[in-house]
C-alpha cells in the first residue's frame, strides 16, 4: 500500500516568488506586489473590469474574506469573487 503514514509535505513558503523563463526566483515583497499591481492595471486597461477575478478562501478568516471582496469590488471594480463553498 502506498502512503501508509506521512507523506512528504510541501515545505512552507517563506518568501515571495516571481516566475522567470527558467523558473521561480525569490523576490522582495515590494517587487512582488509591484509586479502584481502592474499586471492587474495592464489587464484592466486592456480587457476591462470583468477580466479580473478572485478565488477566495474558506479556511481563512472573516476579515480576510471581507478584505478580499472589498479589494475585488473597490480596487478592481469587479464582482467576480467566489469561494470554494460550492464544492
Amino acid at each position: 500500500m502506498i502512503n501508509k503514514k506521512s507523506r512528504p509535505g510541501r515545505p512552507r513558503l517563506t518568501q515571495p516568488l516571481i516566475r522567470e523563463q527558467t523558473g521561480f526566483r525569490e523576490a522582495t515583497w515590494e517587487e512582488a506586489l509591484g509586479r502584481i499591481s502592474t499586471a492587474l492595471k495592464a489587464n484592466r486597461a486592456q480587457h476591462g473590469d470583468k477580466a479580473f477575478g478572485i478565488f477566495s478562501c474558506s479556511k481563512s478568516t472573516n476579515e480576510m474574506n471581507f478584505i478580499a471582496q472589498k479589494f475585488c469590488r473597490q480596487v478592481m471594480g469587479s464582482n467576480n469573487i467566489d469561494s470554494c463553498n460550492r464544492t
Partner: protein
C-alpha cells in the same frame, strides 16, 4: 440569509435525525459528537446515503439509495406523509404557500415507484416518513451528498419541502442544517466573498445596497452580479477573464475534470497565488505570495455551521516573510492607489459591522466574553439567535410566508453504459483534508492512501483481488489505483477520495456538469469502468 437553522447542542435534544448525504462521523467529527449525544438520548437516526458509511453504523436505519435519487426518496416521503394525513395542516396554512402545487407534484412518487427508481424498499421510506412527520422534534442535516450534483439546489429544496410539510423548522431542535466543509465556509459567504452579495447577504443588484457601499468606500461599484467560480473557469476558457488572484485555494486539484481546469488556468495572462506552500496551482502562477496560516498565525474571526462567530488569535509567528492574507491585500491595495491605513484585524471587523446588520452587535470584546455569538446579532444588547425562522410560528405571521418548491427528479448527467458500467462517487475520509495541502505532512495511524473501493461481488466478477493495482477509466481520462474491498458499497458502486492527487488524480475522472444555480459540479456521480492491468501487480 443562508445558514444552518439550529445550534449544535439542539441535536442532542431532538427526537428524529435525518442525516442525508453526509458521512459526518468522518467529515464533521465535532458535530457528530453532538449528534451521538442525541442518539444516546434516544433520537432515532436515519442515514440516507448510497454508502453504508461509518456514520450509518450508528443509525437505526441505513437508507441506501442509488446515487442521484434523493429527490425520489424525499418526494415519496412527502407523498406518504400527505397520504397518511401526517402533515402539519396548521403550519402549512399559517406559514407556507404553494402546498397544492407541491402535493400534485409528489403524487407520482408512490412507494412502489420510489422503490423502483431509488432501490430503497417502500417500507423503509414509509417508516422514515412516519418517524419524521410524527416526531415532536426533528432535524435534517446534509452535506455534499446533497449539493455535489447537477441539481443540488433542487435536492436541497426537496428537503426544505419536508420541513415545511411537517413544521420541523423555526423551532428548538427542529430545523434544516447544512454542515459546512471548511472551518469558515459559512463566514466566507457571510462576508460577501460571493459574486452577487455584499457582506451580510445584501444583494449587489439592489440599488440601495450598492449606494450604501459606494458611499462607504467612496467609489462607483459594478451594478451587475459577477461570475461564480465555475463561471470564472468558463470565462477563462473563452479568454474573457484573463487575470486571476487565488487566495489559499488549489483549484487545479480540487475542481472536477482536472485536465480542463489545468488548461484554463494555464491560459491566463496573469495568475497570482497566495498560499502556505507551493501547491500545484501555485506552480502555474506568475507571482506566488507566502501566507500565514488562517487558524494559528492570524488574528480574526471565523463562523461555523451554527452561525457562531468565534475569535481566532495568533499563537505562532508565520515562517520567514510569510504574512497574514488580509494584510497582504491591504498592502496590494496601497500599491494600487487605495490607502486603507495600517492593517488591524479588529479595525477591519468593525468596518464590516458598520456595513452588515446581522453582525452589527458583535464586538471583539463581546465575542471574547461570550465565547462567540450567533448571527443575526443586530446591536450590542442582542444576544444572537440560537435557531432561525421562529418568525414562522408568530401570530400573526411575521414576514412573508415560505413557498413550497416543486422539484423534479433528474438522474445523474452521465448515465451508466456498457462502456462505463460502474457508478463512481467521490468523497472524503477522516485522516485527510481535501487536496492535502494542510494534511500531507502529518502522520496518521489510519491513513491508507488512495484506493478504489469496490464491493466483493464486483471485484470477484472483474477477477480483482484486494490491493491489486487497476486502471480506472472514465470518458475524460484514466488513472491507476489499488483496489480496496469494502462492505460499505453495493454492487455497481465505487468510491474514491481526492486526497492523494500527487499520486492518484481522481479528478481526472470526475465530470464538470454543474448545477446552473449553485455552480457546484457533480462530484458525486460519474461513470467508470475498472480494468485489470495486463501484468497484474500489487500496489
Amino acid at each position: 440569509m443562508g445558514g444552518g437553522t439550529n445550534s449544535y447542542t439542539e441535536i442532542e435534544e431532538t427526537d428524529v435525525i435525518l442525516l442525508w448525504g453526509s458521512n459526518a462521523r468522518e467529515t464533521h467529527p465535532i458535530f457528530f459528537h453532538h449528534l451521538l449525544k442525541g442518539v444516546h438520548n434516544g433520537a432515532k437516526l436515519f442515514s440516507v446515503d448510497p454508502r453504508r458509511t461509518s456514520s450509518a453504523r450508528w443509525a437505526d436505519t441505513w437508507v441506501g439509495l442509488d446515487v442521484g435519487t434523493d429527490i425520489v426518496v424525499a418526494n415519496a416521503m412527502g407523498r406518504e406523509i400527505i397520504a397518511q394525513g401526517w402533515q402539519n395542516e396548521k403550519f402549512i396554512r399559517h406559514a407556507t404557500t404553494a402546498f397544492d402545487a407541491y402535493k400534485q407534484s409528489v403524487e407520482p412518487f408512490t412507494l412502489a415507484e420510489a422503490e423502483r427508481l431509488s432501490g430503497v424498499p417502500g417500507a423503509i421510506i414509509h417508516d422514515m416518513a412516519k418517524s419524521f412527520a410524527t416526531a415532536k422534534r426533528a432535524m435534517i442535516c446534509w452535506t455534499l451528498g446533497i449539493t455535489e450534483h447537477h441539481n443540488g439546489v433542487d435536492n436541497v429544496s426537496s428537503l426544505i419541502n419536508l420541513a415545511l410539510l411537517t413544521g420541523h423548522v423555526g423551532r428548538y431542535a427542529s430545523g434544516l442544517n447544512p454542515l459546512r466543509g471548511q472551518n469558515n465556509v459559512q463566514g466566507g459567504g457571510d462576508m460577501g466573498a460571493l459574486p452577487d452579495r455584499f457582506p451580510g447577504f445584501q444583494h449587489v443588484e439592489v440599488e440601495a445596497n450598492r449606494l450604501k457601499f459606494e458611499k462607504a468606500w467612496n467609489t462607483k461599484l459594478p451594478p451587475k452580479r459577477g461570475l461564480n467560480l465555475t463561471g470564472m473557469l468558463e470565462a477563462m476558457g473563452r479568454k474573457e477573464l484573463t487575470a486571476l488572484l487565488i487566495l489559499g485555494e488549489n483549484p487545479l486539484q480540487s475542481e472536477a475534470d482536472r485536465s480542463h481546469a489545468e488548461k484554463v488556468l494555464r491560459s491566463l495572462d496573469f495568475l497570482a497565488v497566495q498560499d502556505l506552500t507551493l501547491t500545484p496551482t501555485a506552480e502555474l502562477a506568475h507571482v506566488v505570495l507566502p501566507a500565514a496560516a488562517g487558524w494559528c498565525e492570524s488574528d480574526g474571526t471565523v463562523t461555523n455551521s451554527e452561525r457562531r462567530v468565534q475569535l481566532v488569535r495568533r499563537a505562532l509567528n508565520p515562517p520567514g516573510e510569510a504574512r497574514d492574507d488580509a494584510e497582504i491585500l491591504f498592502d496590494l491595495a496601497r500599491v494600487m492607489g487605495h490607502d486603507w491605513g495600517e492593517y488591524n484585524a479588529e479595525k477591519v471587523w468593525n468596518e464590516l459591522r458598520s456595513l452588515s446588520p446581522p453582525h452589527a452587535g458583535m464586538s471583539y470584546q463581546r465575542l471574547e466574553k461570550a465565547n462567540g455569538l450567533q448571527w443575526p446579532c443586530y446591536d450590542e444588547s442582542h444576544p444572537g439567535e440560537m435557531f432561525l425562522h421562529s418568525r414562522l410560528w408568530e401570530e400573526p405571521l411575521n414576514g412573508p410566508p415560505v413557498a413550497f418548491q416543486v422539484v423534479k427528479h433528474s438522474p445523474p448527467v452521465e448515465p451508466l453504459s456498457p462502456e462505463f458500467p460502474l457508478r463512481l462517487t467521490t468523497g472524503r475520509r477522516l485522516d485527510d483534508y481535501n487536496t492535502g495541502v494542510q494534511t500531507d505532512a502529518f502522520e496518521s495511524p489510519l491513513r491508507r492512501g488512495e484506493t478504489i473501493d469496490l464491493c466483493a461481488e464486483d471485484a470477484t466478477r472483474l477477477n480483482l483481488g484486494d490491493g491489486e493495482l487497476v486502471r480506472v477509466v472514465s470518458a475524460r481520462g484514466a488513472i491507476e489505483a489499488p483496489v480496496r474491498l469494502t462492505n460499505s458499497l453495493r454492487p455497481g458502486l465505487a468510491f474514491m477520495t481526492f486526497h492523494f492527487q500527487d499520486s492518484v488524480n481522481t479528478n481526472i475522472l470526475t465530470i464538470d456538469a454543474t448545477d446552473p444555480r449553485s455552480g457546484t459540479a457533480e462530484f458525486k456521480a460519474c461513470s467508470i469502468r475498472v480494468e485489470k492491468l495486463a501484468t497484474p501487480q500489487k500496489a
